[in-house]
Assembly symmetry: C2
Homo-oligomer: 141 residues x 2
């Protein structure tokens, strides 16, 4: 089974490890890494690690078979290229537009979802960064 997942994967945390492990139980995992420009557009800021750095780190994780960069123009392009059996979504990832595109494409890809909330989130990470690097630490840089 070919499993496709997608995400920012900016600073690998235990929530990612859990999500990737669950994905790998379904089959061989291909990860689509969000482009820097896409993250800037959606978050209003650059990622901490750029797309090539995020790709490099993911390529070195045991449960991942293949890592590709996303398509800036059409998010569905990697699905058309990879033709996965399963798209595995995280608890907060939106699916209705993907379902529509799969139906149109005739690919037969199944959408599955990790329903458990991840034991870790980006906002938890941010809370920890700010605890470790408090306001006055900017003076040192």
């Amino acid at each position: 089974m070919k499993v496709l997942i997608a995400g920012n994967f900016d600073v690998i945390h235990p929530g990612h490890i859990y999500f990737l492990t669950e994905a790998s139980k379904l089959g061989e995992v291909t990860v689509v890494v969000a482009r820097d420009e896409t993250i800037k557009k959606f978050k209003g800021r650059a990622p901490i690690f750029n797309e090539n750095e995020r790709k490099l780190i993911l390529e070195n994780l045991k449960m991942i078979k293949k890592v590709i960069l996303g398509d800036q123009k059409d998010f569905f392009t990697p699905v058309l290229l990879e033709k996965p059996d399963i798209i595995f979504l995280g608890p907060d990832q939106y699916s209705s537009w993907i379902e529509e595109r799969i139906n149109k494409s005739g690919l037969g890809t199944k959408i599955m979802r990790l329903n458990n909330r991840l034991p870790y989130s980006s906002s938890e990470l941010k809370r920890r960064f700010l605890k470790v690097y408090p306001i006055d630490s900017t003076k040192e840089t």
Copy 2:
């Protein structure tokens, strides 16, 4: 060949990937992860990820065979337990006390060092965090 390396490994970055890849070219890599209390003592602050989280992430990296937590009382204990052929040090890691202890122990472990400066450092990481989470972002948490 059994290769031992040690470090904090708090937030995996491309410098770690490079260091771990170089270590794995020498043999099977065992990583000693610094304890939270040790980091607090040396850095004056807690790590972003606790010791079990750092261990979990490392255990999922392809180039690592085994991950153990450090010893809070005597940093040399993991060397005595693991009996590595090589201890592989990063460019900033201190070695003279390790050499002394190896000589005393009669282990015959060889010390090797990555001489290239890592293409990434903790201070670079800090600079990026502060850029991404600027001062006024503390209001949101």
